[in-house]
C-alpha cells in the first residue's frame, strides 16, 4: 500500500531541486522516446527548450502565448478555489471574442480609444453571461457545472462558426468564413519596452495579463470576497453559518472566470488576428486548466505556470516545423513535462510511504537497542 503523507517541513533545497529534477527526468524520458521513434534526441530537445528562447523576439512571443493562459488561468483559480468546476473557459473565451467583435464591427469607422475599452467590456460581459448559464442551472436544478460548461463550449464554437459564415461574413472575403477586419482603434498594438524597443509580438495585452494575475492574487488573499470564495470551497456549511450565500459565490466565480476568459478572447483576436474567424483559440481555455493547477491555485504563480506551459506549446510547434515530428509525439512530450512538474510539486509537499503486505501479516518482534 502506498500512502502520501504531508511533509512537516519543506526545505528550500527540496523546493529548488525538485523542479530541476522534474525537467531532467522529462529530458531523459523525452530523449528516449524521440530516439526510439528515430529522431535525433539532442536536436529534438534543442528545438523544444532552446529554440523557442534563442532570440529576443522569441521571448516576446513566449509572453504573447502565455498571455491568454495567465488571464484564463487566474479566472479558473477563482472557480476551483470555490469548489466550482468550470471546464468551459474555451466557450467563454469565444463568446468574449464575439462580444468584442460585435462592437468592433458595429463601428467600422471608429477612431476613438474608447472603442477598445468598449470591446473589452463587451468581451467580459459576453464571457460572464456564458459562464452564468451553468451557474444558474447548477443553483436552480442542481445540474453538474462540469458537463454544462463543457457542452456550452461546443455550442459557442458552432455559434462563432455560424456568425462568420452567415450574418457577420465580410462580403469582400471571396467566400472565406471571415469577418471584416477590425478598425485600427479596435486592435491591440505592440508594446515597446524601454531601452529595448519592440520584442517580437509582445503587445499591451501581456501587461493586462500581469495586472489581472496580481489583482486576482490580491482579491483572493486579502479581500473579504476572496475569503468567501475560499470558505465556500473549504467548508460550505461554515460559509452559510458566517452568513454567505453559496449560490451567490457560485454565480460570482463563474462570472469572474467567464469574464476573464472573454477578455482573453478579445485580446487574442485584437492583438493577433484582427478579425473573427471560425477558429480563434488554440484550446487556451482547456490548457489554462493545467495552468491553474500547476500554479497550485495561486494567481501569482499562474504567471510562471503560464510561461512554462506556453514554452511547451511553442517548443512543440517548433519541433513539428523543423523536424517534422508528428503533433501526437510533441503532445506526448508536453504531457510528460506537465506530468513531471505536477508530480514533482506533489512530492515536494508529500512524502511517499510504502506499507508492504509482508509487514502487515507478520509481527515484527524487534528489540530496541
Amino acid at each position: 500500500m502506498i500512502i502520501l503523507q504531508p511533509r512537516k517541513h519543506v526545505s528550500l533545497r527540496l523546493t529548488i531541486a525538485v523542479p530541476v529534477l522534474s525537467v531532467l527526468v522529462t529530458l531523459a524520458l523525452g530523449g528516449v522516446i524521440f530516439a526510439l521513434l528515430g529522431y535525433n534526441p539532442l536536436q529534438a530537445l534543442y528545438e523544444f527548450f532552446i529554440a523557442p528562447l534563442a532570440r529576443p523576439d522569441q521571448i516576446g512571443n513566449l509572453f504573447v502565448k502565455a498571455c491568454p493562459l495567465i488571464i484564463i488561468g487566474t479566472g479558473l483559480i477563482f472557480c476551483y478555489r470555490a469548489n466550482v468546476w468550470n471546464i468551459g473557459a474555451e466557450g467563454q473565451l469565444i463568446l468574449g471574442a464575439m462580444g468584442a467583435g460585435w462592437v468592433a464591427l458595429s463601428f467600422p469607422e471608429a477612431e476613438s480609444r474608447f472603442l477598445i475599452l468598449a470591446m473589452a467590456v463587451m468581451a467580459m460581459v459576453g464571457g460572464a453571461l456564458w459562464g452564468l448559464i451553468p451557474a444558474i442551472l447548477k443553483i436552480r436544478f442542481k445540474t453538474n457545472e462540469i458537463l454544462v460548461s463543457l457542452m456550452l463550449t461546443y455550442i459557442a464554437a458552432l455559434l462563432v462558426d455560424w456568425v462568420v459564415r452567415g450574418p457577420w461574413r465580410d462580403p469582400m472575403a471571396f467566400g472565406f468564413p471571415l469577418t471584416r477586419t477590425y478598425p485600427d482603434a479596435g486592435l491591440i498594438s505592440r508594446m515597446p519596452l524601454p531601452g529595448i524597443g519592440y520584442l517580437g509580438q509582445l503587445h499591451w495585452g501581456v501587461l493586462v495579463a500581469f495586472v489581472v494575475a496580481l489583482a486576482g492574487w490580491f482579491y483572493l488573499s486579502r479581500m473579504l470576497g476572496g475569503f468567501q470564495i475560499k470558505l465556500m470551497g473549504d467548508a460550505p456549511r461554515a460559509g452559510k453559518f458566517a452568513g454567505f450565500h453559496q449560490g451567490w459565490v457560485t454565480i460570482m466565480v463563474m462570472m469572474i472566470s467567464g469574464a476573464l476568459a472573454g477578455l482573453a478572447g478579445m485580446i487574442e483576436v485584437s492583438a493577433n488576428i484582427g478579425m473573427l474567424q471560425p477558429h480563434i483559440s488554440f484550446g487556451y481555455g482547456f490548457t489554462a486548466i493545467i495552468v491553474a493547477f500547476l500554479a497550485r491555485l495561486n494567481p501569482m504563480a499562474a504567471i510562471a505556470a503560464g510561461l512554462v506551459v506556453a514554452l511547451a506549446e511553442l517548443g512543440g510547434d517548433a519541433a513539428q516545423i523543423s523536424m517534422n515530428i508528428p503533433k501526437v509525439v510533441t503532445g506526448i512530450f508536453k504531457g510528460i513535462l506537465l506530468f513531471m512538474l505536477l508530480a514533482g510539486e506533489t512530492l515536494t509537499r508529500y512524502q511517499i510511504i510504502w506499507i508492504g503486505r509482508s509487514q502487515a501479516s507478520t509481527t515484527t518482534a524487534k528489540t530496541k537497542g
Binding site: R222, R237, F241, S361, T364, A365, K366
Partner: protein, 536 residues
C-alpha cells in the same frame, strides 16, 4: 485508598501476564511531551478505561498501541513478548481492533461493501454477508448486510465498525469515545456488547471522559493528566467525584448559578415556529414557542435527533421561515434575517459541529475569528481584510478563554477538540452579545474545558445577556440553566423553572412517546446523577 498508585508497576498487580503492557512509554511532539513515562497493563478479558481530559495524552497513547505512532522511549509488550507495532495493519494482524470516534464509512455503499473494503486482502470474502449477519446477531446488534450506510443511524453505523473489528477476532478492542455519538439507549446496548465481548475473553480499552460511564462499564481505569499517568484505580472502589478529581487535578467546582434572579425583559422570542422536513433525515419542527429574558439561561434538553440541529438552524437564521412574525429579538421581527443580519442585532451563535460548521479546520484561528467577526468595526475596510485586526481578535480569544495552541496563529485543525470548542464559544462570548444561542457547548470536551465554558456562559447571563443552550447533557442543563424546555420529536415542551422541576420530570418529557427510552431510564447512570442534583 486504591488511588495512590502512580508508579505502580502494572506487571506486579496481576497473576497472569497481561495481554498488553507498556513500559515507560514516552512520546514527544517538538517541545510538547504528550506521554511521559507511562506504564500500563491490560489483562485478557478486562474492561479497562483510559480517562483524561482533552490533551491529557489519551489519543497519543492509543495511537501508539494501534501502530499509528511510535513511542520515543519505552516499549510495548504483547502477551509477554516485546513488540514494535509499526502500523495499524500489523496491529490488526496481532488481534488489536479499533473503533474510532469518527467513522470512516462510505455512505453510498452497503454494510457488506464497506466491511469488505476494510478487511485485509487475504481475508476470505465469500459468504461475507452471512458472516456479518451471524456475527452481529451473536452479539445482539443485528445488522442487515445489504443496508446502505446512508440509511443507518449513528448507532447502527458504529455497529458496522464494531462488527468489522469482530470479524477479525480481536483479542483487544479499542473504543475511542464511543458513546459521544450515541443516544442513551444505544449506549446501553453498546455496553451489553462490550460486556459480552469481555466475557468471551476479549479485552476492551475504553477511552472516555464520561466518568459515570467509566464507572458503569469498566473494572479498572488508568487516569492520565498532562501526559502523565496519575493513577490506576479500581472503578468499583472509586467514586465519580474521586475520578473527576484525579482527572482534573483539583476539586471539581459546581457552578452556583444565581437561580433566584429577577426576570429581565424578553430578549428573544419564538412564536409558533414550524419547519418542514427537507430530507429523509430531517425532523420537522412543530409550532415551537419560547421566550428567553435578560439574565436568563434557557436549557433545551432532549435526546439527539429530536430536532436540535433543525431548531438551531432556525434560531441562527441559516434556515428562515417564509412567514414574518415568528422570531423576535426584543421588538424586532428577525424571522427573515440571515445570520449576518441577526449578528448585527447583537445576537451570537455557536452551532454544534465544530469541524466545518462553527469553524473551518483548514483555516487559521485568525481566519476563523473572521468567520463571524467580519462585520465588526474595523475588521474589513473597503472589502480589504485587516489581518492585524483578525490576528489580534484571535489572540484575545485564545488568551481570555485559555485556548492552548501549538503556535501563534495555528490552523484550527491543529487544536484539540476541547481547545477548538473554547475558541468557537469564546469567539462569540467575547463580543458580549445580547443573546447567545449555543448547541451542545461541551460536546466531546474534557471536564475542565466544559466547566470553563459553562462558567463563561453563566457570567454572560449575569451581565444581563440571555442564553439559549441546546444540550443533550442533562447534568449541564441542571447546573447552569434557570429554565428548561424539552425538545422531543420536533415539539418543544413548556418552559419550566429549573428550581421547580425534577430530573425525573424532564426525563419523562424527553421520553414521551419514546417507549423504549422511558422503559430504560432507570438504567442510565447519568440521569441518576441529575436526579440527585435536581432534588437537592
Amino acid at each position: 485508598m486504591t488511588i495512590k498508585t502512580p508508579n505502580h508497576s502494572p506487571a506486579q498487580s496481576k497473576l497472569s501476564s497481561p495481554l498488553l503492557a507498556g513500559f515507560g512509554i514516552t512520546k514527544r511532539f517538538g517541545d510538547l511531551v504528550a506521554n511521559q513515562n507511562i506504564d500500563f497493563a491490560i489483562q485478557p478479558g478486562e474492561l479497562h478505561a483510559i480517562v483524561g481530559e482533552n490533551g491529557a495524552g489519551k489519543s497519543t497513547f492509543i495511537k501508539m498501541v494501534y501502530g499509528l505512532l511510535q513511542p520515543d522511549e519505552g516499549h510495548l509488550e504483547w502477551q509477554g513478548k516485546r513488540v514494535i507495532i509499526s502500523n495499524p495493519l500489523q496491529a490488526r494482524a496481532m488481534g488489536i481492533g479499533m473503533v474510532f470516534q469518527h467513522f470512516s464509512l462510505f455512505e453510498s455503499l452497503t454494510v457488506v461493501e464497506n466491511i469488505a473494503l476494510a478487511l485485509p486482502p487475504d481475508f476470505p470474502k465469500q459468504d461475507l454477508s452471512v458472516l456479518i449477519a451471524r456475527k452481529s446477531a451473536e452479539y445482539g446488534i443485528p445488522l442487515h448486510p445489504e443496508s446502505v450506510i446512508a440509511d443507518l443511524s449513528v448507532g447502527q453505523r458504529q455497529r458496522v465498525e464494531i462488527v468489522r473489528c469482530l470479524l477479525q477476532e480481536p483479542t483487544l478492542l479499542i473504543m475511542d469515545e464511543p458513546t459521544s455519538v450515541l443516544t442513551p439507549q444505544e449506549t446501553d446496548q453498546l455496553f451489553d456488547v462490550l460486556h459480552q465481548l469481555a466475557k468471551q475473553g476479549c479485552a476492551v480499552l475504553f477511552i472516555s471522559h464520561k466518568l459515570d460511564e467509566v464507572k458503569h462499564l469498566t473494572s479498572r481505569a488508568t487516569i492520565l493528566r498532562g501526559g502523565v499517568k496519575v493513577a490506576e484505580v479500581e472503578t468499583a472502589k472509586t467514586s465519580t467525584r474521586q475520578l473527576a478529581e484525579l482527572m482534573v487535578g483539583a476539586k471539581v467546582q459546581g457552578i452556583t448559578a444565581d437561580k433566584k434572579r429577577k426576570k429581565g425583559r424578553c430578549l428573544y422570542e419564538v412564536r409558533q415556529l414550524s419547519r418542514p422536513a427537507f430530507g429523509p433525515f430531517d425532523v420537522p419542527l412543530k409550532k415551537i414557542s419560547l421566550k428567553v429574558h435578560a439574565g436568563e439561561i434557557l436549557g433545551i434538553a432532549g435526546i439527539a435527533g429530536n430536532g436540535q440541529s433543525e431548531l438551531m438552524s432556525a434560531l441562527s437564521g441559516e434556515w428562515r421561515p417564509d412567514q414574518d412574525a415568528m422570531i423576535f429579538t426584543e421588538d424586532t421581527d428577525i424571522s427573515r434575517l440571515g445570520p449576518t443580519g441577526r449578528r448585527a442585532l447583537d445576537l451570537a451563535f455557536v452551532p454544534e459541529e465544530r469541524n466545518g460548521h462553527a469553524a473551518v479546520p483548514s483555516m487559521t484561528l485568525s481566519e476563523n475569528a473572521l468567520l463571524t467577526g467580519y462585520d465588526e468595526d474595523g475588521v474589513v475596510a473597503k472589502g480589504v481584510i485587516q489581518f492585524d485586526q483578525t490576528l489580534a481578535m484571535a489572540r484575545r480569544i485564545s488568551k481570555m478563554f485559555d485556548v492552548r495552541q501549538p503556535s501563534d496563529d495555528p490552523l484550527a485543525s491543529s487544536l484539540s477538540g476541547g481547545n477548538l470548542q473554547k475558541f468557537v464559544v469564546g469567539r462569540e462570548i467575547i463580543k458580549s452579545p445580547k443573546v447567545l444561542i449555543v448547541s451542545q457547548p461541551t460536546w466531546g470536551v474534557d471536564i475542565a474545558a466544559a466547566q470553563f465554558i459553562r462558567n463563561a456562559m453563566a457570567d454572560l447571563a449575569r451581565q444581563g445577556s440571555a442564553v439559549i443552550m441546546i444540550s443533550q447533557d442533562l447534568e449541564e442543563i441542571f447546573e447552569i440553566s434557570h429554565s428548561i424546555a424539552v425538545l422531543n420529536e420536533g415539539k418543544l415542551s413548556d418552559v419550566l423553572e429549573t428550581s421547580k422541576v425534577t430530573a425525573e420530570h424532564i426525563g419523562l418529557l424527553m421520553g414521551e412517546s419514546h417507549d423504549r427510552v422511558s422503559g430504560q431510564t432507570h438504567q442510565n447512570p447519568k440521569r441518576k446523577i441529575s436526579q440527585e442534583r435536581g432534588a437537592s
